[in-house]
Symmetry: C2
Subunit: 97 residues, 2 copies
């Protein structure tokens, strides 16, 4: 499932070429992305916040990040919920090669 | 020339694996990066600001970006000067493949 579709109301594709696709996510408090899959990608946290990620097997990860943090992830399928009291703004930089 | 070396005092490598290298640049007002080269890369502006880029041929580009902006660039050699009255914080996401 494509994040830009499962989280359509909170997601905006801001860059898309043959090398990368960049999705800006603006998640209100309590919002979830819906279960979606990525290939290799970098996440940039424009704001800080707390999130809960549930993967396809049901395993749960609690995350806390601050503004400016950068995270790498290999291929993964998960649902992400914003557990902060404030909106969380991130950029998901998906590598196409 | 490697940005992490030419702008050493203002640059920090925050992620480096076989796919990407991510450099965080914190440029005080008036600071320059020194002439450096990139392969394909994405720039994320964590803060907004104005910059002047001079490329290897001497051509000059004036840029203005706001916080959260994302820009793509193919291979390039340039020197970047922070022309804002405030520090500019960016992430340079270099693709290795």
């Amino acid at each position: 499932q494509d994040l830009a579709k499962t989280a359509a109301k909170n997601a905006k594709v801001v860059l898309d070429n043959d090398e990368v696709r960049v999705i800006e996510l603006n998640m209100p408090p309590g919002a979830t992305t819906g279960m979606h899959s990525h290939q290799d990608h970098v996440v940039v946290f424009l704001t800080g916040g707390k999130a809960r990620q549930t993967d396809a097997s049901g395993a749960v990860k609690e995350l806390e990040r601050k503004a400016g943090d950068v995270a790498w992830s290999g291929p993964v399928t998960h649902d992400t919920k914003n557990e902060s009291a404030t909106a969380v703004r991130t950029l998901v930089i998906e590598l196409k090669k």
